[in-house]
Amino acid sequence: MQARTFAILIAVAIMISVIELIRREKMTFKYSCLWLVASAVVLFFAFSPHVLRQVSEVAGFVLPSNFVFFLLLTFFVFLSLFLTIYINEQNNRTDSLAQSIAMLEYKIHKKS
């Protein structure tokens, strides 16, 4: 089996999983974007190996496989960055909620 076929299978599996998660309301479109775009890019390169060879040459890689690994690593770097930002926002929101609860408690005490 070729590496290409393997890549196609995995990309399709990810796409189907993500769409199913959206369908079940466990993921929203905003957060699925990254994965859908990434799978689409993988599928595009898997179905056009000549384009992949061209692009990796232009990017300065001797072997297309090196370029693929590089892309994969870059993807994970950006994913980590994105998750860091997202977690940061979640923590801010959670702190904000904690304060709101305290404020509600204060208001209740004032009323009683």
Binding site: I19, R23, R24, S96
Partner: protein, 235 residues
């Protein structure tokens, strides 16, 4: 005829300059209905202005956007067992005089989702920007294809929702750009959907919830959401 309880949901984000006038108009025209202003993390005098004008105000701890704000109102409507939940924008764009026109088909049981369209009346004060109209045409076509109902103004937030739909919307209301997606959702739950003509006024205060340059993103996002929604469970 038993008098029905109607909740008027007014999502508001930094509408301090215009919210007081809107709430007073609503209280004067429809004293029997409850006005609920959802303060979506405003940093100005919106909550105070709304409260002094006679509305019940709930404040969200941070800005959630129109979907989150209206969703909050719908959860309250569900919890408090309202018969109809009506949505009207906090910026004054929706003319309260037409509220009863939007409301009546739902009160009569003719519709489960009644949408006020600015394009149905022959003369209308303000018909929106060119870019917005392209988006509207697109969603009108897409939703027409998916639901079989051809709407002229699927992005209008001036709408009323019946008691049958409220529990579904309370559980899940789309964020970001909910108006077209909610129509497909309503269709999935077997709702009767229709439009009534209304007049809209030019946006008086605040900023549009749709940023000019992210229109394409929203269109892609909502299109995708509508298509996927067709696959979701029919509860």
């Amino acid at each position: 005829m038993v008098s029905e309880r109607v909740l008027i949901i007014v999502p508001a984000f930094n509408e301090g300059r215009v919210i007081s006038r809107l709430v007073k108009e609503l209280r004067t025209l429809y004293p029997k209905y409850d006005v609920l202003v959802i303060n979506d993390g405003s940093v100005d005098a919106t909550p105070r202005e709304a409260q002094e004008a006679g509305a019940t105000v709930v404040t969200l701890p941070y800005n959630l956007g129109i979907g989150g704000a209206v969703g909050t109102g719908l959860r309250i409507a569900d919890e408090e067992n309202y018969d109809v939940a009506l949505q009207i924008d906090g910026d004054g764009q929706h003319d309260p005089a037409f509220l009863k026109d939007v409301l009546n088909p739902v009160l009569n049981g003719q519709l489960d989702l009644s949408i006020g369209s600015r394009f149905l009346s022959r003369e209308s004060a303000f018909k929106s920007t060119f870019l917005r109209r392209i988006g509207i045409r697109f969603f009108s076509g897409l939703l027409g294809l998916m639901t079989g109902v051809r709407l002229s103004d699927p992005t209008s937030g001036f709408r009323a929702v019946s008691k049958t739909l409220i529990p579904y919307f309370a559980r899940y209301y789309p964020v970001d750009f909910p108006e077209p997606e909610a129509i497909q959702m309503a269709n999935r739950f077997g709702a009767k959907i229709g439009e009534v003509p209304v007049k809209m006024r030019k946006r008086l205060g605040g900023i549009s919830s749709i940023r000019y340059f992210s229109v394409l993103y929203y269109m892609a996002k909502v299109t995708f959401a509508i298509l996927i929604d067709v696959l979701k469970k029919k509860k």
